[in-house]
Subunit: 300 residues, 2 copies
């Protein structure tokens, strides 16, 4: 049974950073999210890929326990993203995005996904996010991601979608832009007033902050000496977070704090190598070890 | 007896931020450091001011328990700094710096300062920092601050001074510049290899990280909704840090972790109002309360 469903992209990424490059390698928000979650639960992915997408990559995802029943095949080319990072690796510079496959995107939710308790609405057109929420039977905990593109094009729809979910997940610049304030704490409070019980703000290498009524919880970024490629950090973070929540089936604040740390553990490993190279080799012992390191990192 | 001595400036600041402005108000690294430390111990300041510096300001510092025996009066004008901040308040833009008083700076260490166990070498010419260290009798724990100006002009002297102290305190951009690496974790490790047992990296609103052999300790910035003026954040942080260390007379790693949090508490309060307006009203209860909030902020 699929207990956690996520909506996201499957892509072929060409990425260059000061520490190397990869060409047409597996990527996409849905891939990073699903892999992040796969360490804790069996996530179901809703996406679309072209017939040019390597079978070996799909096999790998299935071997990791990702359910691909919700992935539709299209005659168009798989999403391709070409980008580079400079020494300040907080920002990806997009060279080219070939996204014609999304013209072909129809929301196809397999029947046995519709009972899932946990739902992640990856960054996509907010109207599709709303439609998906409406078609899920009775999710216990839903999380919405978005980005500046949608905030600028369809702000009122983004706000409507936010009003329908249990948690909003945005990065710091996005939430400040959405609520038109330079202060992310004020922005998070405004977001809470729109309906979600929790707001989780991603601060890239600086960590993440969870907000709820009267609650702040801060997790730092893990102090990495080797950051080869930050691609997928935010999505694998979300996957680790929601994978832990789905596994434990517990949405108390105390458990969400742990989930934020598990998300940070996954995201920190992800950045240590290109594409999914690190995540595909990661095991439970690695995850537990770094989780304990996070405790030592903040304990006083 | 003065147990903690610091070398720093006393200035008249004119500062504008998106939230207001102040003109010719009390400022300077030595003032912020001393006030931050004054909540925990009686710090001794080494500095120089002009005769134009308001008596009321000196009286205020003395009332807060700051020893001014090491402050020399000069016939030149007090240091004046004129700056503004934009919405991203991590960076101060200097409009004008009137620093002729430093032509008149001679290192005058009162005899009873020379026994102090704790020494803070504020950001100044590294040759003066070295001279001061040589003239202290036998400090138990010395901390060195610096800045990009000295790193660029006198790198080898800065490195020499670093080799003489117990802890290096720099902000993230500075330590990356000093050790010519984009990664602050690598930079901190390189700094440790130069001699200091501890390296403390300030990350502005993103907090601070303490490094020692095999040790990382991270404290986030306190999530403030109101940041009126970040001037003095780094110096009041250092003052709170070293004030706590001097008060407890304990330089174990466990105690330094607590000191980093106390420094963060002081710095977060400092940013809530212009100049020293918040610090001068702060009491022990405020400090204890926010220290506990820091525990809740990171606990999982």
């Amino acid at each position: 049974m699929v207990n956690l469903v996520n909506l996201g992209s499957v892509a072929l990424d060409t990425v260059k950073t000061p520490f190397g490059e990869v060409k047409e390698t597996i990527g996409g928000s849905g891939v990073y999210f699903s892999l992040g979650a796969s360490f804790f639960t069996k996530p179901g992915l809703i996406s679309v890929v072209g017939r040019d997408f390597p079978k070996t990559c799909l096999n790998l995802l299935e071997k990791k326990g990702v359910c691909l029943k919700g992935v539709r095949f299209s005659e168009k080319k798989t999403l391709r993203w070409h980008a580079y990072y400079e020494y300040d690796m907080n920002e990806a510079h997009t060279v080219k995005l070939e996204a014609e496959i999304f013209e072909d995107f129809g929301l196809d939710i397999p029947e046995d996904y519709r009972d899932a308790k946990y739902v992640f609405l990856g960054n996509i057109d907010p109207e599709i996010q709303i439609e998906m929420l409406e078609r899920m039977k009775n999710p216990k905990f839903s999380v919405l991601d978005s980005m500046n593109y949608w905030i600028e094009k369809k702000r009122s729809k983004v706000l409507k979608a936010i009003g329908m979910v249990d948690m909003l997940l945005l990065n710091e610049a996005e939430i400040r832009e959405l609520f038109k304030t330079p202060n992310f704490v004020s922005a998070a409070k405004k977001a809470l007033s729109k309906g979600p019980k929790f707001v989780l703000v991603k601060k890239g290498e600086h960590g993440a902050v969870l907000f709820s009524d009267g609650v702040y919880f801060f997790t730092p970024g893990y102090p990495l000496e080797t950051v080869k490629d930050p691609t997928g950090a935010g999505d694998s973070f979300a996957g680790g977070f929601l994978g832990w929540v789905a596994k434990t089936d517990n949405i108390s604040e105390v458990n969400l704090r742990k989930a934020v740390v598990y998300g940070s553990v996954i995201a920190s490993y992800n950045a240590e190598d290109f594409s999914i190279n690190k995540l595909k080799k990661l095991n439970e012992t690695d995850i537990k070890r770094r989780y304990q390191e996070f405790k030592k990192l903040v304990y006083f």
